[in-house]
Symmetry: none
Subunit: 228 residues, 2 copies
DNA sequence: CCAGATTATAAAGAAATTGTAAAGACGCAT
DNA sequence: ATGCGTCTTTACAATTTCTTTATAATCTGG
């Protein structure tokens, strides 16, 4: 249950440890950087969902890091600082920080501010629509389109198709499909499979007699073909 | 040089004056409300780009205001409060506040936080009315119109419809709908759903026998169709 | 190419799910 | 208390989906 990945840029070992433990125990992935240089490198390497940035870094001013980060990074940045001068706060916020918290902070408040920042930026909101030729599958909305028209699938048909999409290109054996879709008690009911495969093909294939998406592997099972 | 319109919901006359002068001199349009009721009414009437909300209001708890506001309002809300208990902060942020500032605050910081909030939340002219074909739903006013006539919905019917509208296009499962509308104890009462779906359709569908808006996904749940 | 095995398809009957009406229960305001 | 509107429950009808059967088509190995 990963709620998102957070990059912590802070040089104090105690703070690192505290943040790592706190964030990790609340379901976030954590990555640590102890100076500006590695922080920027890590951010560029695997862009995190949120950055916690200490302003007092050994090698470079935190504001400079923020400035460089904001040249391309659009997810939330929360600044942590031992200072609390108004000037510093304003400068950080105007350089693109989403929030500013003074050290020492209350961990509950930090977590709430992280939730708030992630929520409003609705990070990780990319719709997982998969496209295969003229077929369009939106797992989140549980919707399948062929060209422009929406295809109505029963829950069993959908379960079957979802399984195929999850293992695109691989051969799925009869027993495997039967167990996953119908349950362990139906492993020998291969006739079900034939009936439902036929129904699925009738709905998603342009020419059900010459299936492009769901191909038969005689004696073994079926395979879903996404692209050539 | 209007940088955006801000709604201030605060009952202290001094604070009102301070905010109005400060915000106005920095190029924001300001609207004042001295209690929860007028605050919500003003927000619904002319949705502002940002709301400054005092938690200590005379007529209603600020958190309740936040909750109601967030049923439809998506632009930033910054909470101002004389309290600074961690509990209060967390609660506000988790109810949908974008930021929390303790009174007395430094005006420079407030302005910076307002700039930050307006910058990151791509503020939009929020038309509180959503239209789907001949259906018109005003989440802020809790009003539903079909063509020109206002439709009277019970609170349960409204909760159901609001849920559908918020997740337009997605399949909402029976357990999900039951949990969200009736509570976790009703997950198995799918008959409720059938009865209320039927009632809703009778009210919003032109031909309840061939529903256009609320379609059945047999074995799974229902889906609200906004556009083709 | 043939024979046996496997797979495809249609269609009917069975089962499960969903739709609808209506009666009773409950709470709230008058 | 009374009436009204809403919620809850019940009974049954309508629809959809699943299961089963029958038969045709296709594949595989010799």
């Amino acid at each position: 249950m990963n709620k998102g990945n957070i990059l912590v840029i802070d040089d104090e070992p105690q703070m690192q440890k505290l943040l790592e433990i706190t964030l990790h125990s609340h379901g976030y992935g954590v990555r640590l950087a102890e100076n500006a240089r590695t922080g920027l490198a890590l951010a560029a390497d695997h862009p995190p969902d949120l950055v916690l940035l200490d302003i007092g870094l050994p090698d470079e001013d935190g504001h400079a890091v923020l400035l460089q980060l904001r040249e391309w990074y659009t997810n939330p940045v929360i600044v942590l600082s031992v200072q609390s001068s108004e000037e510093d706060i304003i400068r950080s916020l105007d350089l693109g920080a989403n929030d500013y918290l003074t050290k020492p902070f209350r961990t509950g408040e930090l977590l709430a501010r992280i939730r708030s920042a992630l929520r409003t930026a609705n990070v990780q909101d990319q719709e997982p629509i998969t496209r295969y030729g003229d077929l369009e599958i939106d797992l989140a909305a549980r919707m399948v389109k062929k060209g422009t028209e929406v295809i109505k699938l029963t829950s069993t048909e959908y379960a079957l198709l979802a399984l195929f999409v999850k293992h695109e290109g691989k051969v799925l054996t009869h027993p495997y499909l039967l167990r996953e879709v119908w349950g362990p008690g139906y492993i020998s009911q291969s006739q079900y499979l034939r009936v439902f495969i036929a129904q699925l093909r009738k709905k998603i294939e342009s020419d059900p007699n010459r299936p492009m998406y769901i191909v038969t592997e005689s004696g073994i099972g079926y395979r879903f073909i996404g692209k050539e």
